[in-house]
């Protein structure tokens, strides 16, 4: 199955504080390359927790995670960091930019880390990404001078800078008005359909979820509907 972007086998995770309770129970999920998947469910059903497991940041789980056919489970912290840097773009629930840096630098940093392009090329690419979200004129402003919505768009631009195979979003449009939500959604759709990038978003926004390719529903730490059409 070469066109599988991400696959989980029996992922189970517990929270230990204050008492041990299972938050994820035997999650078996497959996401194809170029698919645009929304994960929905009530607050506390474990959808964000699942996303952090999928992002490789959370290593405290049982089961197996494969990304692009490579087993991520059990890999060293450094190689997971390298996987995240190159193949995963993450958009957080809150914007989370580095406030001391300009927007442009914020977008550039993951690419400078990757080192695939020269700093000049990275800068040009960063401008391009900012332009897609209509924030290019803010490029040289410090990140902490921006409004929430502007920061969120810069953060999405940052997630895209390395053309990651998988883009993950935890409420990526949570801070955006309907117009900008529309822009972001159209762009996500374009990324998945035209460029073959895989998108996995956790969202409360029903409209946003409905328009994606596939809705995975979760309840009480289990997938209740895989949403295959």
């Amino acid at each position: 199955m070469e066109n599988i972007a991400l696959k989980t086998t029996n992922i189970t995770k517990y929270f230990h504080d204050p008492v041990t309770i299972p938050v994820l129970k035997n999650i078996n999920l497959e996401v194809k390359k170029g698919e645009f998947v929304s994960i929905v469910g009530k607050s506390g059903c474990g959808k964000s927790t699942l996303l952090y497991v999928l992002s490789t940041m959370d290593r405290d789980y049982e089961g197996v995670l494969e990304i692009n056919g490579v087993q991520a489970t059990g890999q060293s912290l450094n190689s997971l960091a390298a996987i995240r840097n190159e193949s995963i773009g993450f958009v957080f629930q809150f914007h989370y930019l580095l406030p001391d840096f300009s927007c442009l630098k914020n977008v550039m940093i993951p690419a400078l880390k990757l080192g695939k392009f020269s700093p000049k090329e990275v800068e040009a690419r960063a401008y391009e990404k900012l332009k897609m979200f209509g924030v290019e004129e803010l490029a040289l402003k410090k990140a902490n001078k921006l409004s929430g919505g502007q920061q969120q768009r810069v953060a999405i631009a940052r997630a895209l800078i390395n053309d990651p195979a998988i883009i993950m979003g935890d409420e990526p449009t949570g801070n955006l008005d309907s117009k900008n939500t529309g822009i972001v959604f159209d762009l996500f759709q374009k990324l998945s359909h035209e460029y073959g990038q895989t998108l996995i978003t956790v969202t409360h926004d029903e409209d946003f979820a409905k328009r994606s390719d596939r809705i995975v529903e979760m309840a009480d730490g289990e997938i209740t509907n895989h949403g295959h059409r």
Binding site: R84, F92, K105
Partner: protein, 414 residues
């Protein structure tokens, strides 16, 4: 110039908190400048005392010492295997002169560590001028060699020391003698050695060392004059003075010479034990003070970086989420420490030099010591920078390692 992204982030963090950075750098600067100042003062003081000690003491002095009587003669007379015991053995008077001194000198010169050797005739004398007599010693020397070893020239107050070679019966006296007998250059002085007849000599110069006791007793004469004074021949030599390339080797070389020549070889450590002890005590005081200063500076950096990490914990999580591995995070924070250290180091070297320079101009006026002895010794500055940077790295490492262990999930999810 291509700088890595880690460096760029480190520099941005430093420049976005200028005040904290400057305060931390000041701490290092203070530590390093104090380090330089204290080291300069200690080396200056040690050099001063060493110099004043070596201005009168050779690294090694070879002389004939009286020996305790032993059974050697008895053995060679009786030639049997019995054990002889001398009850109440006495010191045997040895000839004060060395046997074949110029042969010994030639032998000593063969040692590659030896840089200067000079024979000397030392004798106790009574100086007389008018009705006043005072005790003292005359050192009969080759004044050129003596000057090379002990910098006699540097102690000259009046007259020309080379007159010892030119003026018949010339005598170079200490300032104390000159004062007690109210003598000036060109005056006559009567000198009587224990076994010889009195001799009238002419004061050709007056010197002053830092040691009063020497200035009040010792005078220099040409070695031939000293031999004449004692009524001895030209091969009469009481001491051989030896200087080495490295005076720290003196004790070992002295022991070797004792074995070779059979005479007593006294090294400068034996004759200046209190000096050696003072060096050691000063070094301990100094090193503990410097240690405390650097420790305090190190804690300053540690604190500031620790605070930064608490402040930036979300950003560290972001960096890790976007693919910065732990060692990149260590590099980012350790670099901040190193730049603080470098900044403090450079300023500290300049400030340290200025303090040292200013203090070296403070008038003390104790005895012959006019100004505080300070040394300007380049290795101190290099050491200071190295220690400063080592301290900052040590102080930065623990916060940096803590930063690298930040778990992005707990921070981002809150």
């Amino acid at each position: 110039m291509k700088i890595s992204v880690n460096t760029e982030i480190a520099l941005t963090y430093l420049s976005s908190r200028k005040k904290q950075t400057v305060v931390a750098a000041m701490g290092v600067m203070f530590g390093i400048s104090m380090f330089i100042f204290m080291q300069s003062l200690m080396k200056g003081t040690n050099d001063y005392f060493e110099k004043s000690s070596f201005s009168t003491t050779a690294h090694i002095r070879l002389y004939s010492e009286n020996k305790v009587a032993d059974a050697h003669m008895l053995n060679s007379y009786l030639k049997d295997n019995s054990t002889k015991i001398l009850t109440n053995p006495k010191q045997l008077q040895q000839s004060l002169g060395l046997t074949n001194p110029y042969g010994i000198i030639q032998n000593i010169r063969k040692n590659p560590q030896v840089v200067a050797v000079t024979p000397q005739v030392t004798t106790n004398v009574i100086y007389a001028s008018g009705s006043v007599n005072i005790n003292g010693t005359v050192a009969g020397v080759n004044i050129d060699e003596e000057d090379k070893m002990f910098d006699v020239q540097g102690n000259m107050k009046e007259g020309d020391l080379h007159d010892l070679n030119r003026v018949n019966n010339g005598l170079l006296i200490g300032k104390g003698i000159a004062d007690k007998l109210s003598l000036h250059v060109g005056d006559n002085i009567t000198v009587r050695a224990g076994s010889g007849s009195p001799m009238i000599m002419r004061v050709i110069g007056i010197y002053a060392t830092t040691i009063k006791q020497i200035d009040e007793t010792k005078s220099y004469a040409n070695i031939v004059q000293a031999q004449n004074l004692l009524g001895k021949d030209r091969s009469y030599v009481t001491d051989i003075k030896i200087n080495l390339a490295d005076y720290n080797n003196a004790p070992k070389v002295a022991r070797d010479m004792e074995t070779i020549t059979g005479y007593k070889a006294e090294d400068w450590v034996q004759s200046n034990e209190q000096l050696k002890a003072a060096f050691k005590i000063r070094a301990i005081i100094l090193n503990s003070v410097i240690g405390v200063i650097l420790l305090v500076a190190g804690f300053g950096i540690y604190n500031i970086l620790n605070m930064t990490i608490y402040e930036k914990i979300k950003e560290i999580a972001i960096l890790k989420a976007t693919g910065f591995p732990g060692n990149s995070v260590i590099s980012i924070f350790l670099q901040q420490a190193v730049y603080i250290g470098l900044m403090g180091g450079v300023i500290g070297v300049i400030v340290g030099f200025l303090i040292t320079f200013m203090v070296s101009k403070i008038y003390i006026g104790a005895g012959t010591l006019k100004y505080l002895p300070m040394s300007f010794y380049i290795p101190h500055y290099i050491e200071a920078v190295c220690f400063g940077i080592l301290t900052t790295i040590a102080a930065g490492f623990f916060p940096a390692r803590k930063a690298s262990k930040v778990d992005p999930v707990t921070i981002i999810r809150g």
